[in-house]
């Protein structure tokens, strides 16, 4: 009896990985999906926090894609391991703090590990939705062999959407997959993918233009660099990277930063950090909860509270009452004058 070969597919939830899997399924190949959670994935975070996003459809696109494809999906937490990818990218960063090429190499290498662990169940090659020329940093003709080589995948990494533009891989050479039924997509033009999606009956796929990583976002990257500069260290924890996604960030002094909630949803989210961080809230008027990241000295309490008051409904009042909560201490109640717009220096905004 001929051995049945199976593939593990890197699933981001976008159109390309969806199509890559379906192309192989059309050839009768059994596929399972793997999705890596780095902590920086856009998936699912902010929509769970902000009020304005409450009406958005809440779905994890990788899970959704797997369901459309009828495949199992393994979601892997790589938050700790990913730190080294972000902090020491051999191939450098893209336009922002995005180490796209190292990231892809890392994810394929994790898939290689998965194949080794699951070879007994028939898994012996990896597929991705990569297309030559699709992404400026990681998906170029010259990066394709780099990803295959440095991940350790070598000839078991197959890219069904652009395979015909690349040397044949083991699944093709061994006849597990018919190379003639693979594709030769290249460049940033999305029309071939959209046509193939239509052919396969996919209509409701995730936006092709949508990025899937906060590190490609300039504002987010600026906040991350500010955090590292302020601490004098590039170490980070999960809470740090989550909090960079929440609130208005204002650093009036190098040693502390205010994270001011922008709506009730963010205030509720920051509530969860009250036991760990100093928080400031105007209590005489409606206003956002504010969390202090860093070292806020008692002599700066009124100054920080004045900034916080600027963002509440008492911004034009002569005096507002403010509650300052320091973990493990009695709450302090102060009456302060809100800072004026001019007094909140634009350069403090991170």
């Amino acid at each position: 009896m001929t051995k049945k070969h199976k593939a593990i597919a890197l699933i981001s939830g976008g159109l390309d990985s969806l199509l890559a899997v379906r192309v192989l399924q059309e050839q009768g190949i059994e596929v399972e999906g793997i999705n890596f959670y780095t902590g920086f994935c856009v998936e699912g975070h902010t929509h769970a926090i902000r009020n304005q996003d409450k009406d958005k459809k809440k779905r994890n696109n990788a899970l959704w894609a797997a369901e459309q494809l009828g495949i199992k999906l393994h979601i892997v937490d790589v938050i700790e391991e990913y730190k080294d990818v972000l902090l020491n990218p051999k191939h450098g960063y893209g336009a922002n703090m995005n180490p796209c090429l190292d990231c892809k190499i890392f994810m394929v290498s994790k898939a290689v590990e998965w194949v080794k662990e699951n070879r007994k169940d028939g898994f012996d090659f990896i597929i991705t939705g990569e297309v030559i020329g699709q992404r400026p940093m990681s998906q170029r003709k010259e990066t394709m062999p780099i990803i295959s080589n440095e991940s350790g995948a070598d000839d078991i990494l197959l890219r069904p959407l652009c395979a015909k533009n690349l040397p044949p891989t083991k699944p093709e050479l061994e006849g597990w997959v018919d190379r003639e039924k693979l594709y030769d997509f290249s460049g940033r033009n999305r029309k071939p993918q959209m046509a193939l999606a239509k052919q396969f009956g996919f209509t409701d796929y995730a936006s092709p233009a949508g990025g899937c990583c906060f590190l490609t976002d300039k504002n987010y990257s600026d906040k991350l660099v500010d955090l590292w500069d302020a601490r004098g260290s590039r170490e980070y924890e999960m809470d740090d990277i989550m909090l960079l996604k929440v609130g208005r960030h204002i650093r009036p002094k190098p040693e502390f930063k205010l994270i001011i909630a922008r709506d009730a949803g963010e205030s509720k989210y920051l509530e969860g950090y009250r036991k760990q961080f100093v928080t400031i809230q105007v209590v005489s008027h409606n206003g956002p909860l504010t969390m202090i990241d860093g070292d806020l000295k008692p002599e700066d309490y009124d100054f920080a509270a004045g900034i916080v008051a600027r963002y509440g409904q008492g911004r034009d009042a002569e005096q507002v009452d403010v509650e300052i909560s320091v973990p493990g201490e009695e709450k302090l109640l102060r009456s302060i004058k809100p800072l004026s717009t001019d007094q909140v220096n634009k350069e403090w905004h991170v």
Binding site: N35, Y37, C41, E43, G44, H45, H47, A48, I49, K58, R59, N60, A62, L63, W64, A66, E67, G70, I71, K72, L73, H74, I75, V76, D77, M242, G272
Partner: protein, 75 residues
Amino acid sequence: MSHYELDARRMLCPMPVIKTQNKVKELSEGDILDVICTDPGALSDIPAWARINGHEVVSNREVDDELIITVRVGS
């Protein structure tokens, strides 16, 4: 059949799904797992994860601003 509980409070998706997935790996077919979480995204993500991986969400309810999603482990 045994009944288990998983604390996924304050975690944002997909972490509640990952924690559920990892816990279920330790359980046996027919076991019941209550996942307690606060991210409403889990209401769609955990059932989607269960459907594609052969498990069943038997109920979900909200108690004091917390969501309790009950999963029956499949084969």
